[in-house]
Amino acid sequence: MRPFYGTELPNGLMLGTAQYPSPAILQAAFRESGAAVATVSLRREGTGGAGQAFWQMIRDLGVHILPNTAGCHTVKEAVTTAHMAREVFGTPWIKLELIGHTDSLQPDVFQLVEAAKILSEEDFRVFPYTTDDLIVGERLLKAGCEVLMPWGAPIGSGLGLANPYALRSMRAEFPDTPLVVDAGIGLPSHAAAAMEMGFDAVLLNTAVAKAGDPVAMAKAMARAVEAGALAHAADPMEPRDMAEPSTPVIGKAFLS
């Protein structure tokens, strides 16, 4: 796995921390899955430090914390939230999310590039939530990002990898950049597919938090991520149109 701003992660599972039935279940999901990274939002809980109890619980998970700017619609909001996140969690990591459309929650890639530039210049380590557009990816790298997080499908949709071709192109176009499929993962098979393509990690929240048994689903996701990563490293076979027998047919008894 490629390191994220110099940090080697033990695995490629990044889990969100919203929408769980209770903090106790959230903690169990992290414990049982061994997820490497916890994303956490500050926007709504933030005011006046009143979210301290919850944030402390996130810190106590003992995993890497990736604060996010979820819910931000403008560069200014996102930059302010990033500052707050750095103060609260003492990390330069920030998942930069700039929503461009309230219904589809599609990222506003123009503002994203602008905010990424500002934050990178202020020594943040930016993880931009972006589309699968190669040119936007290019611009984000130029703006100082060293990680890209293209969507699999819209946030919370659980549709999986809506455009596998675009994600494969992205992997091929940015061979040295750590890439994370962020958003849209609904099932472990989606997570495995992303890892099989050579993505370095997947980031998901709803699929686990809203499952009937979040802890079991978190475990399933962890295993899928591990299987996908192993499969990618194992150099999988190429699919082909014709059958290819795995044992030779010549020499077999044919008079039967």
Binding site: P23, R44, E45, T47, A50, G51, A53, F54
Partner: protein, 327 residues
């Protein structure tokens, strides 16, 4: 038997005092705020006795013990047994299916059934009707309980008396966080509207991936709209966004809510433990009864009976830390 002091006259304290009095114990009920009022987070509650709806995202305990609440409350206050109607817009039907798959004791309602149940609901084609659920008016229920206690010689004192009590039951909700390190606040924001043009007869829950909302009729065109759930201990202010979301969701139920008069804006925090289940915890001579989370009226009767068992008969029930840890 000697006196037991109960701290806090919110829903927890009042129920505990009632259960103790029912067992013949002498009770001193103390709350610096006096009679139940806006200082208690139960003042701002929805008052839904909806164990089956809550079960969608809560533990078995909530379902099992919550079912006792309706009968308990009807001994002391008016309980309206009109059921709960759960609806979702067409694009969110997956949420309705998921809700249905995770709970029980409801029947599906189509557009015609919906019109029959709630003619003033606007534009919903599918719903779930939880016929056995009920609701009450929280402020009336708190007042009725304190009246019942007063009738039994238990008034609410603003300060503890000079006499020492044998045991203290701490029911101070979030104010007890100085003594309970694992207690946190979960912020809730709500509105009370007067919408005489809207006629709804039972609690309506609108499922939405981002803005779930419920409306509880209080009678005479008054509706309680609730409630946000935010991991924050801020109990002072409502955000513009929350208000916008609450009102938009109400508007989606019936556009006539757009003409409603805003009577109240309520903000408070629900006291909660990490698993969002209540606790009865003994620390020295104090028993803490806390962490009712969003289930104040639903679980306070069961919590109160657990407190009484522990205080009088020294029997640990399932709200004890040990029992909860073993689940």
């Amino acid at each position: 038997m000697s006196t037991i002091r109960v701290l806090g006259a919110g829903v927890a304290g009042l129920c505990v005092a009632t259960e103790l009095v029912a067992r013949g114990v002498e009770v001193e009920l103390v709350d610096p705020a006096g009679n139940p009022g806006p200082e208690a987070c139960s003042w701002w509650a929805g008052g839904m006795l909806a164990p089956f709806c809550e079960y969608e995202s809560a533990e078995d305990t909530v379902l099992r013990l919550g079912q006792q609440a309706k009968h308990w409350w009807s001994r002391y206050t008016r309980v309206t047994e009109a059921g709960t109607l759960v609806v979702a817009h067409r694009r969110d039907h997956a949420d309705l299916r998921r809700f249905a798959s995770r709970t029980e004791r409801f029947h599906k309602v189509d557009a015609a059934g919906m019109r029959k149940l709630e003619p003033d609901l606007y534009g919903f084609e599918h719903g779930l009707f939880f016929e056995s659920e009920a609701h009450l008016d929280p402020r009336k229920a708190l007042a009725d309980l304190s009246r019942h206690l007063a009738g039994n010689g238990v008034g609410i004192c603003r300060e503890p008396s000079a006499t020492t009590a044998d045991q203290t039951i701490d029911c101070r909700g979030f104010s007890a966080r100085d003594a309970l390190a694992d207690l946190r606040g979960v912020k809730g924001e709500m509105l009370v509207l007067r919408a005489p043009d809207v006629s709804l007869t039972r609690p309506i829950r609108l499922l939405h991936p981002r803005i779930p909302l419920y409306v509880v009729p209080r009678g005479q065109g008054v509706y309680m709209l609730g409630a946000t759930m935010i991991e924050s201990a801020d109990r002072k202010r409502i955000t513009a966004r929350s208000m916008l979301e609450l009102l938009s969701a109400a508007y989606a139920l019936n556009p006539a809510f757009g003409e409603a008069e805003v009577l109240e804006i309520g903000v408070d925090v629900r006291p909660a433990f990490p698993d969002n289940l209540p606790r009865v915890r003994r620390v020295g001579s104090t028993i803490h009864a806390n962490g009712l989370y969003r289930h104040g009226f639903l679980l306070a009767p069961a919590l109160a009976s657990a407190v009484a068992e522990l205080a009088i008969n020294h029997i640990q029930t399932e709200f004890a830390d040990d029992c909860l840890a073993e689940r």
